[in-house]
Amino acid sequence: MMNDRAQKLQGPVISNQGCCPDGDSSGQCEKPLQPFTIPMVGPVDDDAPCCGPKPGPPSSPFERPGYRLRHFVDDFVATPIGQVPRVETDLKAEDFLGTLRARGGISRDRYRVAPGLYCVGDPADDSAVLVTANYKLSFDSLRKELDNVDAWIIVLDTRGINVWCAAGKRTFSTEEVIRQVKRVGLEKLVSHRELVLPQLGAPGVSSHEVKKGCGFKVIWGPIRARDIKRFLANGGKAETGMRQLTFTMGERLVLIPVELSLITKPTLAILLALFLLSGISPDIFSVTAAWSRGGYATVAYFLGVLAGAVVVPAILPWLPARQFYVKGIMAGLLSGILAILIFADAISSLETVTLLLLSLAVSSYAAMNFTGATPFTSPSGVEKEMRQGIPIQIIAVLISIVAWVSVPFLG
């Protein structure tokens, strides 16, 4: 341990027990490393001639050429299997900023931490080993619950995907657990043979296969990281509530921005189509009509998106039907009526029907897509409702297109 400040300033002392400072004990280094220290950069003379602002602080003694030191690592702990990064349990401004970006769907697939072994607190050979995914939101939600806990953390390479989705995609898997346990050399680090895995990783991990593959027994931990402390204090027993999923208002609302960001791609093509269809006229094409009628259709479309991707998730439990496409139709009726009221003075009765159907179909489709973000829809059920919902949505869109295009020819 290097809690000692003076020692920290001299740089890390690599113990001669381990050989690979990144925690990879592949066993390829035969000769033990000799202890060494990295000399500090000399103090900067404040009176030295200088242009521009003063130079910043010297590089951290933990930095290594070719690696990037992550801000959440506050120390490296010497262990029998090498230096293990110790992570902080409080989140900083850049973590919250990263969370906001990921929740907004910006570079979400690259928001990762390096897979491998980490620790929190002052763990010993009898401390618990917690397993998580390398999506940084997953990693952050775990470490922020671990203040005053001494534990090892094994981060699996789930390709930057959260535990639940990664288990579904089989990147949080039996094979990956075994691979990481072997790669870090866990059996030389801890005296026990137990791993605590989040319960939502269970679709991808077969506990008896893990035991067979690496000798470690899987203990299924709580679903939510915020219960992990109580779980550990209980001696590895989860209370019933820790094992049951929830889908609260807050849990639903944070998903909305990503839902909206997934819709932006088709939206551009749809808007173009709306403007082109709106401009078709007896004079072949009317730019004026494209703008004015295209504007009405655009508003009806966006109100439909709002209804299906925002209103439906928000009031999900209070919409009576179980099928998401029906929930979407209900919300879409409201958004369609709103669109009609906005343009009541400018549109014909046929256009009224069109805007209503368009808004309704869009809302129904967007709501149906929200099934993928919920923790309670079965694939058999989703497929069943899609076989009912998609034909209805297609018919609604076709009718509205035909009606919309024929209006200028009927006038």
């Binding site: 679709p203 991990v205 439990p317 179980r322 099934t371 309670f376 829809t377 079965s378 989703v382």
Partner: protein, 92 residues
Amino acid sequence: MNEFRYLENVTTLKLDADACIGCGMCEVVCPHTVFEVAAKKAHIRDLGGCMECGACAANCPVQAINVTPGVGCASYIIQTWIKGKDAIIECC
């Protein structure tokens, strides 16, 4: 999770009571408390709550549980319709 119910009578979940050894692993891993162990045997107490995640089947040491696992995600299913069941799907 009682306020969220999805479609009933659609799940592919099957439990072979004869093969079950009552270890209780299915009860532990199921996030919707579909199983209940009583008298050394697992029972399905809430079939409609099943979302076919496959956690129970993956963790049953004697393969007493059968379910077609998958993700209940419309955009995923659309891609399987278009590209075929075995295609590599980018999703969610």
